[in-house]
Symmetry: C2
Subunit: 355 residues, 2 copies
């Protein structure tokens, strides 16, 4: 096993000459992630700028606009009415899952490209509508899977695809934390079935799920799962879900996720001749540790890399401004929604569910 | 989380006064494990002695008897005929899985107690017969699950049962290696469906399977699985198996095992408030590393402990010589065979299989 570890992880293997820009963003949804993570990442990016913020709460929109030096502060209604639409070229949708669709519909109506947070919506049916309206309007739609623009994870995918660990046999991954022990509010939207569309699987489990698809460069054809229903505050949502995905090549992905289990955050690929494990892959801008094992040797890499959110925004902008295809597009995000629905169906009925 | 780490791991929590003994053993099956591991462990034990060795090959039996200073060397036929039966009190059956039953039947006929290697037989039906003949004869039958007499693993079980990581939510474990890359003989009995009863699940996968039952002190009620058939040399046996077990408490066990995947050997329990991971639990007399995580603290223990095979033989002898119940008895081993058959059924048909 001959592994060349890059001295830096700041190379963008997707980079290409970009004309025009910057892509001017309306950031829709002003929970913590939008103002605290996304807007600073846009600020730091090469090809993006925030010109507009949109919230259900006018005061919050104005406060964030003021704090972040953003020109336009809109309510959801203002946005739906097309107010200030000349000020932005694209939208970043970071509302609760079940509210993505109307914002995506408005963007499509206005001819704006869309970067939409994962999962694409709360149900596959609504996710499909997101895809359809964007296709009909001829605007780009990207599902915001950070891992796919995390340079160290892209490197892991290259190692796997280059056969460094032989033929892949399985992936394993988990993303979990104990939301009750953390003292979180039980009234949050992530525990509202209509807004979230599911429990930890929708919020956290999609990380190992999607990263398995990404690293293997293959889509599963069947899933089976065990789900454990949460306490009454979970309103029928699962507190735990273990799911297994079967891929056409014979590779098997074993993942789990929970909201009532001690923190867990890893991803691993086992091949015929070696293993690659990533510790703490899924937190935003985490201190990742990559351990590569094969034939007695062990290589440990602690990548120093740019923020994956900066990479994500510039990747999206490059897709918008050039002829580059966006890999995690709407169809890609929709497939995950079909997967999560199949996982819930299997957890409910106990069978293997074909896709 | 307040963890008291023992200064040594040599305490036998099951120890009690033993009268009589030693238990004189006939070791049946002289592959590498019997002569190289079991006979030295018996030699080192407090309550056991080897008086007899039994092989299909008379010359091998005589050579091993000579090398190990054992009085009696028998063929399988000699043993079946009751030769030298006065020289031993118990048998240790360490032949290929599918040959356990006739040796157990002979032992029961002769009134000898039985320590039988895992898995108990090649099929649940034959395992059930092992249990029945021993019950009818009134002899003890123990299924030789080393992990249950490994003091560090018993300590892990105590930590879990004492609530050190909160309520258990899931276990994970794997035991795998690439038998082809290791250059192993493709004609070995482990790849013979009749003798092995299955692929890596029967040989290796039973370790995380049984250790989950042991540490949780609970038995699963349903399983689902994905199996991947091996190359033609595997004669229809799986090369890979990922299985999920559902326990009545809601705990889920996620395990995998393979013969064509890079080495893998770990066991983990995730609770509501912490995690315990054991690295390299399953190799005999492995250098285990136990990592306990909870609320920001991490405790790493590298236990210095006696050979689990010595512990296993003395545990069995204590069961035979006192009124101590043997925990991994015949019924316990039979349950695992029902589990492995259910796992194969699920892997074949795709459904959740109830037990």
């Amino acid at each position: 096993m001959d592994i060349e570890v890059p001295s830096t992880f700041d190379e963008r293997d997707w980079a290409r000459p970009v004309d025009g820009g910057p892509v001017r963003f309306a950031v829709i949804g002003l929970g913590w992630f939008g103002p605290d993570v996304a807007i600073p990442a846009i600020e730091e990016s090469d090809y993006c700028v925030t010109t507009t913020v949109v919230s259900g709460d006018r005061e919050k929109a104005e406060r964030v606009a003021d704090e972040k030096g953003v020109d336009h502060a809109l309510t959801y209604d203002d946005y739906a009415d097309g107010e200030a639409a000349d000020a932005y070229d694209a939208v970043y949708v970071v509302t609760p899952n079940g509210l993505h669709l109307p914002h995506v519909e408005t963007a499509a109506d206005l001819g704006k490209d869309v970067l939409c947070e994962k999962p694409l919506e709360a149900t596959a049916e609504r996710a499909r509508k997101c895809v359809e309206v964007c296709e009909e309007a001829g605007v780009d739609l990207m599902t915001a899977y950070r891992m796919q623009t995390t340079n160290s994870i892209r490197w892991v995918r290259d190692l796997v695809q280059d056969g460094v660990i032989g033929d892949p046999v399985h992936t394993r991954g988990a993303f979990s934390y104990n939301l009750i022990a953390a003292g979180e509010d039980m009234d949050q939207w992530r525990l509202n079935p209509d807004l979230a569309g599911g429990g930890p699987l929708m919020d956290l489990g999609v990380y190992p799920l999607n990263t398995s698809r990404f690293v293997l460069d293959e889509d599963p054809t069947a899933v089976h799962a065990s789900t454990v229903e949460g306490p009454s505050e979970f309103d029928g949502l699962e507190q735990y879900c273990a799911f297994t995905m079967e891929f056409p090549s014979g590779v098997v992905a074993e993942c789990d996720t929970g909201y009532q289990v001690a923190g867990d955050n890893y991803f691993e690929v086992g091949g015929t001749h070696g293993r690659i494990r990533v510790d703490v892959p899924f937190n935003v801008d985490a201190d990742r540790k990559i351990t590569i094992r094969g034939s007695g040797e062990e290589t440990v890499v602690e990548p120093d890399e740019p923020s994956e959110m900066v990479e994500e925004f510039d990747y999206f902008a490059t897709g918008v401004l050039t002829d580059m295809d966006i890999a995690p597009d709407g169809e890609h995000g929709l497939f995950d929604m079909r997967l999560t629905e199949a996982i819930y169906e299997s957890g409910e009925n106990g069978g293997l569910v074909d896709l």
